[in-house]
């Protein structure tokens, strides 16, 4: 069992070194050996959990693959060598079964410790008027889950071939929606209600956390909170048809005041556009009405024939 002993030595020496490497290389390793993570706690927590698994995985990989390759070199058939006729070793077999189980128990604990920080929305740093919220005012108790106290920005996200639509909550009776680009205020927790109008899609901005599938008939929930201004890209992650590859999404984080200005401008643009559309409709209807009068000589008839025109 000399081989096993030397592997243990390698493990002892390697584990702390790897941990140190991982911690220092975390930002550089994003994408290459670690998931993306931007300025949102959930994504950072996922990356940390991934890192914990990665350390264990590397140890198991080096250990098992090492012994495998060691055997291939050490026990290669040579003249005069006789194979040991071993049928099994119950203690050893029980040992590695338990060993594997212990690693998994550890991972289970790590997962459930990390889970609340990934799944439950954090509290906002600002309220709906853009005023900062005191750090200690957020949670009544440490185990409190969603929804957090204070304001959150709840946005309805709808997937459709091949664009994301965002419907914002109404502020001052304004109606705001947008496509593809999701503008959010920095420091505000954003909760998303995700659905679909046609086939399945999957909402994903890698730097801002995990995926949430969009299924017609269901509402899926996720959240993020950006802590600095910036722009983060993502795209639909579930095959949704021929142009699945072009169904992009972008989150744009703005300081609260700028975001509010965008919100008002978007509301004004939508209102103007709707008024123009309504005006256009009215003109069209009038025009049609006149034509109908000219054509049939009676308004009454237009109504009944309206369907077929």
């Amino acid at each position: 069992m000399a081989g096993f002993a030397s592997i243990t030595l390698v493990r002892r020496a390697l584990a702390p070194a790897l941990l140190a490497l991982l911690v220092t290389a975390a930002p550089a390793g994003a994408g290459l050996v670690l998931p993306e993570a931007g300025p949102s706690e959930n994504a950072e927590n996922i990356r940390t959990l991934y890192g914990i698994i990665l350390i264990l995985a590397v140890i198991v990989f080096v250990g098992v693959e090492g012994v495998l390759i060691f055997c291939m070199f050490k026990y290669r058939a040579r003249k005069g060598r006789v194979a040991a006729q071993i049928h099994g070793n119950t203690r050893l077999e029980i040992g590695w079964t338990v060993g594997a189980a212990v690693i998994l128990v550890f991972l289970t604990i790590a997962t459930f410790v990390m889970l609340p920080g990934i799944k439950n929305p954090a509290a906002s740093d600002v309220d709906m008027n853009g005023n900062p919220v005191a750090a200690n005012a957020a949670f009544a108790a440490t185990d409190q889950g969603a929804p957090p106290e204070g304001d959150v920005l709840n946005i309805k996200v709808d997937g459709q071939q091949y664009v994301w639509q965002y419907t914002y909550p109404s502020i001052d009776d304004k109606k705001v929606f947008a496509y593809t680009d999701l503008y959010v205020p920095v420091g505000m927790t954003v909760t998303l209600d995700i659905g679909s109008n046609d086939v399945q899609h999957s909402w994903w901005i890698p730097a801002l956390g995990g995926k949430a599938d969009a299924l017609p008939g269901y509402v899926n929930k996720t959240w993020f909170k950006v802590t600095e201004p910036g722009e983060w890209r993502g795209q639909c992650a579930e095959l949704c048809g021929r142009n699945h590859a072009n169904m992009y999404a972008r989150v744009i984080g703005l300081p609260f005041e700028e975001w509010r200005a965008w919100y008002d401008e978007q509301a004004a643009d939508i209102e103007t556009a709707e008024q123009e559309a309504a005006e256009g409709r009215r003109q069209l209807e009038e025009q049609q009405g006149e034509e109908a009068v000219e054509g049939t000589g009676g308004g009454q008839a237009t109504n009944t024939d309206g369907e077929s025109e």
């Binding site: 050996v33 012994v67 495998l68 079964t97 956390g209 949430a212 017609p216 048809g241």
Partner: protein
């Protein structure tokens, strides 16, 4: 007590040999009418080989398209068709039926039987498989399916996939599903009833153990698939609304039903591969398998747990946390028996005298590769981490490490190991080694970087990606690797075609192997065995050689370092 004639009991049962009376059937018609398990096995294997090449060419086209960003070689429509056909082909027409084919040939030989329990049903299974494949490939002349190999609704419904390609896919799933289920029933009946005298459950070759468990899994899982695709068929054409949320149906229902088949399917194609590893490694390490009982028990445990992990494919769907937690834990638990198998194989190599034959190289390469797929499976089982990884190239990499590392490497190990038995001729070892190293290096070149592509945000099933996404290098490396694999496979194809004519004559037992198929001639006569020895251990051929050595004094065991073919 009456006296028992022990000598008469131990004598082999008398058999009537008919191969000299009725000539072997010849000509192409004999291949269509055959009910011989060996001929059906060979039909399966050739058919699988052709589909493997077709699926491989589709993979190369996919890789060429992705080799450069914003490539316009393939239209999005064509690209979706290609990955749908690639996935469907490799899963339904390669990695599952290849084990039906190999087991068809080997299973009766390994347990000392004359044929399978229901030879005509067996022939029907093959023909349904073939026509299932043809139904799918016929769609190439019209519009192939393009909703992916798991055909998620609503994309696969009439509204979003109006073409007949989706119906061809359903037809393929029906035919190959029925083929697999009838084949499985046949294997189960054969293994339970037709084992050689003395072959108790503790002396069953491990490959036969895995085929038994594979068969039970097929019966349980494929029945779910055939029902599910029937529901899709009636939704598409007969006005039902199983999957339409606007009419009280559920889009999530498809995912549950599909993965209830889909995950056991992984074990359906990987357990027989484990069986191959368990047969090849002891032979070339010249050691008994380490922990026979643990390996057999682990096979059963994996199959049982494999029925309980399906929703780990659905961690990003709107599901309760308790559901996600359950499927995370069940996926964790399944890692334990899988790990046990890997440890047992390594312990079988430990202190052996390992002969570097091509079959062994493929087996060890397969284990080493599969190990990586197993480890990345743990990342994916942790559901909060899976939220980042699912539907990305990380999953594509993981899945190929499992399917290629597990199943395809075992396919090649089996080919190099049993080709002498199937044809009576040896494959070239030197060409085999070239093929192995090309395939191994090509495989890791292709798929290792795909983990990184996924981690940096590349979703699967995209026909193009922007230049500034930063995925160009990963994809280029991957594309180069795919062509190295293709080259490796090509060398083996040339090797097979060449060796059929000019390969060294193998004799009945070129490897000095352990199991009963090596007791008969290569290739075996139509009736398989003139006589079957009484089975006293899991290594009946070793027992036979020992007996001959004791009786005649002629050395039968291996002098280490000298290949047995030349003894």
């Amino acid at each position: 007590m009456a006296s028992v004639d022990y000598a008469a009991r131990k004598a082999p049962r008398p058999q009537i040999v008919t191969d000299k009376v009725r000539p072997e059937p010849k000509g192409w018609l004999s291949w269509i009418t055959t009910t011989d398990h060996k001929r059906i096995g060979i039909l399966y294997l050739w058919t699988v080989a052709i589909f493997f090449v077709l699926g491989g060419v589709e993979a190369l086209l996919i890789r060429v398209q992705l080799g450069a960003p914003e490539n316009t070689l393939l239209s999005p429509e064509r690209y979706n068709q290609l990955f749908t056909m690639h996935g469907t082909t490799m899963i339904f027409l390669v990695v599952v039926p290849v084990w039906a084919g190999l087991a068809n040939y080997l299973l009766p030989l390994m347990i000392g039987a004359r044929d399978v329990a229901f030879p005509r049903l067996n022939a029907w299974s093959y023909w349904m498989f073939l026509f299932g494949g043809l139904a799918l490939y016929a769609s190439f002349f019209w519009t192939p399916p393009e909703a992916g190999w798991f055909s998620y609704v609503p994309l696969s419904t009439k509204e979003y996939s109006p073409s007949g390609g989706q119906d061809a896919w359903i037809f393929m799933a029906h035919l190959t599903g029925l083929s697999s289920m009838l084949g499985a029933v046949n294997f189960i009946a054969t293994i339970h009833n037709m084992r050689a005298p003395g072959m108790g459950w503790g002396r069953l070759p491990l490959f036969v153990w895995t085929i038994l468990i594979y068969s039970y899994l097929i019966v349980l899982a494929l029945s779910s698939l055939t029902a599910t695709v029937t529901m899709l068929l009636t939704d598409r054409h007969f006005g039902t609304n199983f999957f339409d949320p606007a009419n009280g149906g559920s889009a999530l229902l498809w995912q549950h039903l599909f993965w209830f088949f889909g995950h056991p399917e992984v074990y359906i194609f990987v357990l027989p591969a484990f069986g191959v590893f368990s047969e090849v490694i002891p032979v070339f390490a010249r050691k008994p398998i380490f922990g026979y009982k643990a390996i057999a028990a682990a096979t059963a445990a994996i199959a049982f747990l494999g029925m309980l992990v399906w929703a780990h494919h659905m961690f990003a769907t709107p599901s309760a946390t308790v559901v996600l937690a359950f499927f995370m834990l069940s996926s964790f638990v399944i890692a334990v028996p899988t790990g046990v198998k890997i440890f047992n194989w390594i312990a079988t190599l430990w202190r052996g005298t390992i002969e570097f034959r091509v079959a062994l190289l493929y087996a060890v390469g397969g284990i080493g590769t599969f190990l990586i797929g197993g480890i990345t499976g743990i990342f994916l089982a942790v559901f909060p981490v899976d939220w980042q990884l699912t539907d990305t190239y990380f999953v594509v990499a993981h899945m190929h490490y499992v399917a290629f590392g597990g199943s395809a490497f075992a396919m090649f190990a089996a080919l190099y190991f049993w080709f002498p038995k199937l044809t009576g001729r040896m494959l070239s070892e030197s060409m085999g080694k070239v093929s192995f190293w090309l395939t191994l290096v090509g495989f890791h070149t292709t798929f290792l970087v795909q983990h990184s592509a996924g981690l940096s945000g590349m979703p699967r099933r995209v026909f193009e990606y922007p230049i500034d996404a930063g995925w160009q290098a990963y994809n280029l490396i991957s594309t180069v690797g795919a062509f190295i694999i293709a080259l490796g496979v090509l060398v083996t194809i040339v090797n097979v075609v060449r060796s059929l004519k000019v390969g060294t004559l193998a004799g009945p037992d070129p490897w000095k192997a352990n199991t009963l198929e090596w007791f008969t001639t290569s290739p075996p006569p139509e009736h398989n065995f003139d006589a079957v020895p009484r089975i006293r251990s899991v290594e009946p051929m070793k027992d036979c050689r020992r007996q001959v050595e004791e009786a005649t004094g002629a050395q039968q065991h291996l002098e280490s370092g000298r290949p047995m073919a030349h003894v």
